[in-house]
């Protein structure tokens, strides 16, 4: 308990400094209040309660439970907590019940000091209990879902970790589904998420550093990494970037992502996000640092390279040959998603000679009567599809089929029959849309969608030369990006051979002997022994 108190007090100090800042910057409301908060707690329980209640504006969800000494009106103990943030059953069973029994049995004849020590060390039956000396600290703990116990005659209070309330259960991932592999996903609770990682990496080297961000939201975040496997310089850089965040609210991990990413102006993600604990654990095992944020099921992983966004967790659960094939399909789909409409426009507008004659005649026949040039036709269709896609995400599930029918029949078939667009462009846009769903990382898929429009304009104005120019700009941009100092195009440029075993192809696990040296600490790259190739005893040479 002592050790815990020492450790926790240190962290609490960090938290309280944040809280102090919050109070100071929160309002002009009050220098007087902030001065009171920084002063020590009173020995009078009622006075302490008044201070807390005043600070919280008499909020209705604040629950206070006072316990009197037997046969008197004088309050000896008071509990204070916020409804719904605590586990009520835990408060009743682990705090109230033992304390009331103790009051009955051994309160009499003890000095305030002795009584305080007894309650702290023997009565409160929860794992985390720590002392606090100022109302400011008490407030911070209440807002985190802890229960504060004030004892008459003592200028210190006890905070018991009873945080609870309604939480979503661990469910199947909504956006990163797999056919084979774990079916668990992160939830909105940081505790649950940390436990999901701990259950996968049972190593004493797994480090969890908790921090509080957001002056008003006081959001708990945790940096999770493996000591000795994550590069110390990168861990330090992540810590530094997080520490300099000065904002009043963090409601989702995307807030943090935007504050700490390397390149603010880019459509490409330089930090990975995942709702899969197995993907987060795999990243941590490779040397990445996970950032878990309370209130969101999406964890961040950094540093990351471009090729990582084309890997799916399932690649490592399927056979390596199948995984390689699927991975190559994803790369092709990325280029299709980004370039197909632009290529269609460029070829039909500028370079018709590239098409075989029968196809050219067929396309020309389809376009006969279409009033728009290819670029306008393609842009109209793409924008229509984007509207449909956005509607698909937002609309109530009940009317989903109706929108699908409207999209497919009215906008597709009818528009072709009315001669507004050609059938070829419907095929191109549909295939492009399907290809964009193949990319496992939604943020990379969105980047391809954005770039597609630029490419279409370039293809429509300068033909293949325009597309080539666009690709060059893209390549230069990608080559200039970094993720926490790691070049984004690693291992392609700069070339890193070790990483190639898990880039375009997924080599068998027994071949991938080392961790990626660009991410993992150089002194701890080897993850498995030599000669791990399976050698069944019955296997003999055929020669």
């Amino acid at each position: 308990m002592k050790l815990w108190n020492v450790l926790f007090r240190r962290k609490r100090d960090q938290g309280s400094s944040q809280q102090r800042k919050a109070v100071k910057q929160d309002g002009r409301s009050g220098k007087a209040v902030s001065r009171d908060l920084e002063e020590g707690l009173s020995k009078d329980v009622d006075e302490n309660l008044r201070t807390i209640v005043a600070e919280l504006g008499g909020s209705d969800d604040l629950t206070i439970r006072k316990i009197d000494a037997a046969g008197t009106d004088s309050v000896v103990v008071a509990f204070i907590y916020i409804d719904n943030l605590v586990d009520s059953a835990m408060v009743n069973q682990m705090l109230l019940h033992p304390l009331m029994s103790e009051i009955g049995e051994s309160r009499s004849g003890k000095s305030s000091e002795e009584w305080y020590r007894t309650v702290r060390d023997r009565v409160l039956a929860v794992g985390r209990v720590h002392e606090m000396r100022t109302p400011e600290e008490a407030l911070a703990c209440i807002l985190e879902g802890q229960t504060i116990v004030f004892l008459q005659g003592s200028a210190a209070a006890l905070a018991a970790d009873t945080s609870g309330g309604d939480k979503r259960a661990v469910e199947e991932p909504g956006s990163q589904t797999v056919i084979r592999g774990p079916k668990e996903s992160f939830t909105e609770s940081i505790k649950t998420n940390l436990s999901l990682i701990r259950r996968r990496i049972k190593s004493p080297r797994l480090r969890v550093e908790r921090k509080t961000l957001g002056k008003l939201t006081q959001t708990q975040i945790a940096l999770v990494y493996l000591q000795g496997i994550a590069k110390a310089s990168i861990v330090e850089e992540v810590r530094r970037r997080i520490d300099r965040i000065d904002t009043d609210s963090i409601l989702e991990s995307a807030y943090i992502e935007e504050f700490i990413q390397d390149a603010p102006i880019t459509p490409f993600p330089t930090i990975e996000n995942t709702e899969r604990p197995d993907a987060a654990a795999a990243g941590i095992l490779e040397g990445q640092i996970a950032i878990i944020v309370d209130g969101t099921p999406f964890a961040l992983l950094a540093p990351v390279s471009f090729v990582r966004f084309f890997q799916s967790s399932e690649d490592f659960y399927q056979r390596y040959d199948i995984a390689t094939f699927l991975r190559l399909i994803r790369y092709v789909a990325f280029f299709v998603s980004m370039l197909l409409p632009a290529m269609f426009i460029a070829i039909t507008t500028f370079h018709q000679e590239m098409l075989p004659t029968p196809l050219l005649i067929s396309l020309a026949a389809q376009r006969e009567g279409v009033p728009f040039p290819a670029i306008v036709e393609a842009l109209l269709m793409e924008i229509t599809f984007e509207v449909l896609r956005e509607a698909g995400v937002r609309m109530p599930k009940v009317i989903g089929p109706a929108i699908s029918i409207v999209g497919a029949l009215v906008l597709g078939q009818s528009a072709v029959q009315a001669g507004l667009i050609s059938a070829a462009i419907v095929i191109v846009v549909s295939f492009t849309a399907i290809a964009s769903f193949v990319i496992p990382a939604i943020n990379m898929s969105i980047a391809a969608r954005l770039i597609r429009f630029v490419m279409m304009i370039l293809g429509g104005t300068l033909g293949l030369f325009g597309i080539m120019s666009g690709l060059m700009v893209l390549l230069i941009h990608l080559a200039s990006l970094r993720s926490f100092g790691v070049p984004y195009l690693t291992p392609l440029a700069p070339f890193v051979w070790t990483n190639w075993k898990d880039t375009f192809v997924r080599m068998p696990h027994w071949v991938m002997k080392k961790r990626p040296p660009t991410i993992a600490d150089g002194s701890n790259l080897v993850r498995q022994g030599d000669d791990q190739m399976p050698k069944p005893p019955g296997r003999k040479s055929k020669f």
Partner: protein, 370 residues
Amino acid sequence: MPLNPEKIGSIQAAVLISMAITPTAAIVIPTVSIGASGQDAWLSVLAAWPLGIGFALLYGSLSRMNPGVSFFSWLDSRLGRAVSVIAGLLLAQYYLSVASVTIRELVNFLSNELLQKTPVAVLSAVPILIAVYAASGGIEVIARISALVYVGMIMFLALGIGLELNQMQPQFLFPIGDAPLPRLVESGLPSVGWLSEASLLFILAPYLSKPRRSTAIAIAGVSLAAVQLSLIVLLVLLQFGPELPGIMAYPAFAAAEIIKYGSFVERVDLIFICVWVATVYVKLCIFVFGTVHCFTHSLRIKAAKPFLWTISLLIFLHSLYSWSDEATFLHYQKSVSTAFLITCNVIVPALLWLGLKIKRRPPASAGESP
């Protein structure tokens, strides 16, 4: 925090040197060399290779003396400020000129073959803007894109050779050694001029992660370029024979134009053209970076960005207005370019090398016999 900030690896540097040579040489050398020495043109390109290696040794020897500072700071410390500024401005002018020639070559090709109706100013502006963007990222970024484009280029070159196999006629190469020596020399000179562009090593030297490998890097870069050029010349010869290429504008692309398999693989030359355009972009990025580097480092200018835009505008105008028509440009390429390249890339470095050797000699003390 970067892994290796602003440093480039040896392979990246060799590829950069090769990419500084081949994109424009691949267009001009088949026409000029085959025009001069017929079926022996490939021999003349191969003969230029040892000379290129000689240049590489010179550049490597100069670069290895550099303790890791910019070429001009080093010249300043060894030969004085005046020599450093003169050499810097001369090299800046050389890089500027080659960048302009590169743009002009690209624009001429595009306006003849692909985009006849697009204004030349637009076609010139696009590559220069891309080069400015790349140069502002620094040599590290250029080295990375160069390596990726190079891999793509090699893949497509191999694909092209594979697809053109059914069109090749080995008898076009015979008789070997038929061209007289003066013809071979005339044919090989442009290749020598282009291979001398390995002098890029001077500005790469301070960025190399392993500067001791300077000579090997230069030799590798020159060798990669020489082998590619020989392959391209051979490819053209094997398809069109010794007579036609001399009067063709772009024989390397004409070779890709006649690829035909069934009724669906035809006119794929555009794909090869796209890859070539990418290589030209890389060359342009290198030379725009080189111009700005030489100019700002020789004059000790700290804020390079405004000069990047100014110099790029100058390159843009130079490429648009220095040659009134294509004939003038072709004349420049055939007659002036080689002499200009050899002056800037061979004579100037040789003079500097000589100066450094003389300067290094310890002064004779009084009383000693000479």
